[in-house]
Symmetry: C2
Subunit: 240 residues, 2 copies
DNA sequence: GAGTGGTCTAGACCACGAG
DNA sequence: TCGTGGTCTAGACCACTCA
């Protein structure tokens, strides 16, 4: 039952009979329309919410989610949009704090516990909707970074980081799929039932010292990651 | 309420008071114990199911999921286990069929629609539990592959493919996080609420022709993917 | 205060698994 | 057949939004 109702509503959304940002009828009315109880109808909406098709706003209603542009994270540390997106609608907020290496962070960065770090908390936006979270950690002695509180795009953040730190030799990225924590879901304004792409990135400088570690969180319905591996057929360097 | 019950049960599982493969008390008994209704208790169990901590088996009960070994997919096309896993417990079933390029597959492989392909459907197991699905597509004229129905590990599949096809120049991998389809969840024996890592891999041969495309699906709670990017500081080749 | 979604209750009925 | 989980009902009560 729940799935057939979800199927019907999904078809209405995909064919455009329900338009982006449009409010669905109230749950009580939808339940009456489909002749089911409210919990059953809510289960159907939960399916669509998990697919990222609708957004529930407490006290206001259920809304068709505007289909946003796909975001592609490119291995090595770049953020890109698939299609042409108005540059003006893109922005990134950056907040820098000083902190100290705790637990897993210390081992990622290969620094002693409690050594001083700079933490950059970055949130990427397209228009008003956040699409990505990034927390960057840099040993404080390596890079005296200063960044404005808001920059036009990810390129600015990447450039500022690249200038401040030593040249990089390689970057290792671990990619995982999971459900968001409650705070991640709130920050990205997505449902807790929507999968996210979690990327842990560790970059090593040419000196062999870890220059930077970063945690990225991307909403699964609008982001993917792209990695390119070159196969050296002639002389194979120690790639791992 | 649902979350506090989930927290309590989670603590019991993590601390080992509930052991792997152990059956939980019936939902009715748990509901009575926590003094909540059965739907509320079931919501709590759904939280744990989404975390991959329990497995529900209709007609039998709820079981603590055995914590299985972490699987790491290494960019470029290798499957690896983090820790030492008994080789004997690993196996891969392979089924080959002949098919034709349809829709997106044709554009991935850059072949005309309906051109003949070989399809390999591979399922990786650790013991009795499946951990990964892979569908590999190869233009039929490029690689007359023959594989047994069951091989000991992923290395055998990789080796057989590597022998049959021309040498590779590069591999592009697109990684996405999403919820599994019903059939993927059934094949991996995971909950439909557990995120999966979906990887689309396209390998180009040294001739410039696409040699292989593959779709991989890995359970989010036990798999991640690792990619390494080398930064060429001296002379930067056209890496993309 | 009216209308919306968020959560929970108590219980019915069905489907599956094992003896 | 019995005990299990799977799904749905009808309705209560609370929290949030907005006029």
């Amino acid at each position: 039952m729940r799935y057939s109702i979800a199927d019907d509503l999904r078809a209405r959304i995909i064919t455009g009979r329900l338009k982006p940002d449009e409010r669905l009828p109230s749950e009580a009315k939808l339940a009456a329309h489909y002749r089911v109880s409210t919990p059953t109808l809510r289960n159907a909406l939960a399916v669509l919410q998990g697919e990222g098709l609708i957004e529930k706003i407490h006290g206001k209603g259920n809304f068709v989610r505007r289909q946003l542009h796909q975001l592609t994270y490119v291995g090595g540390g770049h953020m890109a949009f698939d299609r042409e997106v108005p540059r003006a609608s893109l922005r990134v907020t950056v907040r820098m704090t000083n902190t100290r290496a705790r637990g897993s962070l210390a081992s990622l960065l290969k620094v002693p516990l409690h050594s001083p770090l700079s933490e950059l908390l970055c949130v990427g936006y397209e228009g008003e909707s956040p699409h990505s979270l990034m927390r960057v950690y840099v040993p404080r002695d390596l890079a005296p970074i200063t960044l404005q509180a808001e920059v036009p795009c990810w390129g600015s953040v990447e450039a500022a980081l690249a200038e401040a730190r030593p040249a990089l030799a390689d970057t290792q990225e671990t990619v995982a799929a999971r459900l968001p924590t409650r705070s991640e879901a709130a920050a990205l304004r997505i449902s807790t039932a929507l999968a996210i792409l979690a990327i842990t990135r560790v970059s090593t400088g040419i000196t062999g010292r870890v220059a930077e570690a970063a945690h990225l969180v991307l909403a699964g319905d609008r982001a993917n990651a792209l990695f390119t591996t070159l196969h050296m057929t002639r002389e194979r360097p120690a790639q791992r």
